[in-house]
Amino acid sequence: MKKIYIIAIAAATGIGMLAGGCSKDFLTNDPTSILTTDQVFGSKELAFSALADLYKGYVDQQTITNWVEFTNFDEAFPSEAGNYWRAQQTDFPYDWWNLWNYDYIRNINIYIARCSGATALDDADKQRFVAEARFLRAADYFEMAKRMGGVPIVTEAKTYDYNGDPSYLQQPRNKEAEVYDFVLAELDTVMQYLPDDATVQDRATKGLCLAMQSRAALYAASIAKYGVNTPGVTLPGGEIGIPASQADKYYQISRNASLALVKSGKYSLYMKKPDDLADNFASLFYDKSNNPEVIFAQNFKLKSGTVEGWTLNNQPRAIAEEAQGGRINPTLNLALKYETLDNKYTPFKVQSGAGYAYYDKESDIFNNRDARLAGTFILPGSQFKGKDVDIWAGYYVPASGKIITSTTFGGQAQLPGRDYKEQVVGFSGPIDGLEFSAQTGFYVRKFMDPATGSGQIGTQSEVWWVRYRYGEVLLNLAEAEFELGKKDSAAIFINQIRRRAGFTKDLTPTEITFDRIVHERRVELAFEGHELFDNKRWRIADKVWNGQKITAAELEAGVGKATAPNTMAYGLWPYKVYDPGATNDGKWIYKIVKPDEVTAAHRFQLGNYYSTINQDIISNNPKIVKNPNQ
């Protein structure tokens, strides 16, 4: 009995061993999608692959892959039912725009340490990769400073030793100025290891370092200069706020960086289509071949999985390749800022005497303006992808004074005196409250991809997201020169930008004012993610978004003034005139409207200048000083 038992066990274990070999090998399988640290830093390709992941971590606020962020302010209205609340919310929450992404910083620090120490890589590759990682780290600290003020500068990946008390790892916030200094110094260092090559546009280059210095130093300078206007927005330790005495120093740094880039002669304003300046301005953003203006962009590629849906989301509803689109509706507020070519702020003429102003063609109301209007907006009466965008709100019947329209895209109704129904509203609207219709009368054109398929879910677009371009550097330069008292020089650079927009008469140095500087950035850089952060650094955000309701007349009166309130989105709707036999029949009139969904006036409070630091961050490290709103 006992014998049988023992034999049975022996047999079982014996066969068990045969079946699977040693249990350790049996239980440990080789990874099929995981690389060890040694493998990653053992070859150029894999080290580059880990760097590629760091490029993916680059942070943007408003961007073409997050369209809805553009609709929180005054540039655009969200024509999507689930996002109307953005036009109905008065206060911006204090925790909006906050960023404390030290996991990314840690990954970069680990990369820098590992790559620097890698023995299997060529020095040249190593130097470039490390310089790129340090560039990305500087970019992230700049991004954090824009939102949070001074943050702890961590340049090394530390690990807790499990001694029971991690407090030895706590590091206080650096001063806001120190973070800017760190960013500027890092860029100074790494630019020597990066290619000085303007054809590299989706990786870090020397030109990009200069462009970022140009922008970052300008931010530091304006915070120093204009901080006096918001005395409550500071902390005694300098975590927020930069002494006014440092303003000139930073303007000088910004100016020098911009000038170095300009003088390098490697970049220039995009001017491939001088015959159609609006089209030229639009092409600047989607033309990826030998584009001389783009310094740095987040790149996309069809059929790689990395594509973007800006065109899908915002294509004119009438000619959409899917049953959607039209989400971003640029506002009349923004359209009004585009001057007529006589360098004047001119409201759109909707009244003529006591009646409407009549236009022969739908697009005539936009004639004779800054080419950037039609380059940035899809306007009523224009085309996209060679097709009419079909934006019109209905028929206006002068005989009765009535409007005949419909509440569905391209809906039909019967006009007086006719015995059949016909289309009485555009297939793109505008129809109040109908998502995807042009509820402001406008769609967006900047970054829109004219290629077939760009509006299809399965294809989408490879148009890039331009993060830094030469045009902005010229405006940075103009601003720094202006602030340093050199208006002559400021005029030269601002006029370069304006000539490209079709202005034939230059601004004179005396015409260069702070309002002009602000204005030029608004119209040139709309939908490029600058508005919020510009208004913050100039300390005018609390005045522009002051929570007071505004009328269209106030809006028109404030155009050109940097601090004029701009709290509610307005629109401009075209109507076709139906007046058989009369001269005005078939002409167009326009009405200024406020979309019904716009109910609140945006209010940016002093507490919004720097975002809330989450409570868990402060609990984890009591040395972190709270921001003034907390």
Partner: protein, 540 residues
């Protein structure tokens, strides 16, 4: 494609001497499973042809994952005269997912049984003709759980995930990216599951009526969690990895029973069976619970509480007039009741502070988005002269559905309207005249897509249904031709049948147009299908 290799070797030894029986079993199990999968995505230039072409492909995902496990089991069982039973067993298990230091776990098990009906004293007490079988049994054991651990097989390595997400486009080329996986995790080991089962099996009237009852309890301890009181500065860029915390415990406790009756009435053979179970999951304890005050504890403690609790407001009625709203002492909508109309919901002000806010929430119902706490089934079968019939029901209760979104506020996102809202809602007698009297209805006066209104912006007992249902899972009626007839036709079997799946359900949510077994609170889950089959089985 999945290839799975299972090797199980078992050695048994059994011996009976006199009234003693002993059995020994030894088992070794090895399982290796390899899961190869490919996923391709193409942007076809034509929808006419169904194939995928290389030139139109934009995604190709390739996966190859191997998992393996080893187990050794030893078991010794003993019984005396088929009356007393005893069994002791032990397992050694190893799992691929655990790090090399923690792969193995040892788990003991013991059980005992007593067939009380074999005892002469009991047979004298109750005749075996009435109660022919009664067995009392109990077991207790420990098992290891390696599911839902916060690690994967390679978490103990410092490494990178290759091909993490979409590629980055650098120098115009798609570059596959490698993501750093973070700090290695080497501490995670088996979750311990303690299982207790006490039960009895019985047979009455020579097994015409049989059944069983069980009480069971499973306590899991060492559930992975994070020691929140060790605070790492966020600026380190990583959080403490989870570890097995002995105080992190949950339990499932419940009862189940089944009863079956087989009988005959004339030429009709029939059987009836029913089963019912109750099981609810609780959190037993958590790692060093900490609360700022007793209110925080009341709302946020999990200690000893059922999991999946829904908190909400209690509705004590609806306003019947504008006067009542104007004079109502409690601020219902947070805006001095200025947004209210007759028909709107009145929430109970539990803390009597004159305003309805989060402190007036209480646990509501049984919890949603989970399996029913009560489950049951009912089976009926009968046969007569070639006809056969059977019917299965399933039942559930003890879970809640809180209507939301499309199911809660009219014209959600500008969309459609629930029929129940249309059928009965508060409205003016003349809807074009605000001075005309109000007409009462079941639902509040309709607003267009106003999710923020106080009726709609909070979960409340008004929108909650404690679901109860009994569903006819299957119903089948068949007729088999008699064999005498078949022999002549040279057919060995011929059966005609009609069966229906999910023929009907009796429940308390059908008026909302939803199935009782869905849990999306917007009601947008596809309901279960009804099937009706008619068929013939022929065998030659």
């Amino acid at each position: 494609m999945i290839t799975s290799t299972d090797v199980q070797l078992q050695a048994d030894y059994a011996h009976t001497f006199g009234k003693h029986s002993i059995g020994v079993t030894f088992v070794t199990e090895r399982n290796k499973r390899r899961d190869l999968n490919n996923w391709v995505h193409a942007v076809p230039t034509t929808n006419v042809l169904p194939l995928i072409y290389f030139s139109t492909m934009d995604t190709y995902d390739d996966g190859d994952i191997t998992t393996s496990k080893i187990g050794y089991v030893g078991r010794i069982s003993y019984n005396y005269n088929n009356k007393y039973y005893l069994e002791v067993a032990g397992r050694r298990d190893a799992s691929y997912i655990l790090s090399p230091e923690h792969k193995w776990g040892t788990f003991p098990f013991a059980s005992g049984g007593w067939r009380i009906t074999q005892e002469p004293f009991f047979q004298r007490l109750i005749s075996p003709d009435i109660l022919n079988e009664l067995k009392l049994r109990g077991s207790y054991g420990l098992t290891g759980d390696d599911r839902n651990l916060p690690i994967d097989e390679f978490s103990y390595l410092e490494a990178y995930d290759y091909n993490d997400g979409n590629p980055a486009i650098l120098d115009g080329n798609a570059v596959i990216s490698s993501k750093y996986r973070g700090l290695p995790v080497t501490t995670i080991t088996w979750i311990k599951s303690h299982m207790l089962d006490l039960g009895l099996d019985f047979g009455l009237f020579h097994n015409k009526l049989t059944g069983s009852f069980d009480y069971f309890k499973r306590v899991r301890s060492d559930i992975p969690g994070t020691k929140y009181d060790v605070l790492l500065p966020s600026e380190l860029g990583y959080t403490l990895p989870e570890e097995n915390l002995p105080d992190n415990k949950d339990k499932v406790e419940g009862l189940e029973g089944a009863i079956n009756y087989h009988g005959q009435a004339g030429k009709v053979n029939f059987s009836i069976g029913a089963n019912l179970s109750y099981a609810r999951t609780y959190t037993v304890s958590t790692y060093k619970p900490r609360f700022f005050n007793s209110l925080d504890q009341y709302y946020n403690s999990q200690e000893g509480r059922p999991q999946n609790l829904d908190w909400g407001y209690t509705v004590i009625g609806q306003f019947t007039s504008q006067d009542q709203i104007n004079n109502y002492p409690v601020n219902i909508d947070g805006q001095g009741n200025s947004t209210l109309l007759p028909g709107d919901l009145i929430y109970k002000d539990f803390n009597n502070d004159g305003v309805i806010n989060k402190e007036d929430t209480r646990p509501l119902g049984w919890g949603g988005g989970r399996n029913p706490i009560f489950n049951g089934g009912l089976n009926l079968a009968a046969s007569w002269n070639g006809f056969d019939f059977h019917m299965d029901f399933s039942m559930g209760a003890g879970y809640s559905f809180v209507r939301d979104y499309e199911m809660r506020w009219p014209y959600q996102n500008g969309g459609a309207l629930q029929e129940v809202f249309y059928d009965s809602h508060w409205h003016h007698e003349d809807i074009y005249d605000v001075n005309s009297p109000w007409v009462a209805g079941d639902y509040p006066a309709m607003r267009f897509n106003e999710s923020g209104q106080s009726n709609y912006n909070k979960p409340s007992s008004f929108w909650l249904t404690n679901i109860k249902y009994i569903r006819c899972r299957t119903l089948e009626l068949g007729y088999s031709l008699p064999s005498e007839l078949l022999e002549r036709l040279k057919i060995s079997k011929a059966r005609f049948y009609v069966n229906a799946n999910n023929l009907f359900s009796i429940d308390n949510v059908h008026q909302y147009g939803i199935d009782a077994e869905i849990y999306d609170n917007n009601g947008l889950t596809y309901p279960q299908s009804k099937y009706l089959n008619v068929g013939i089985n022929l065998s030659f």
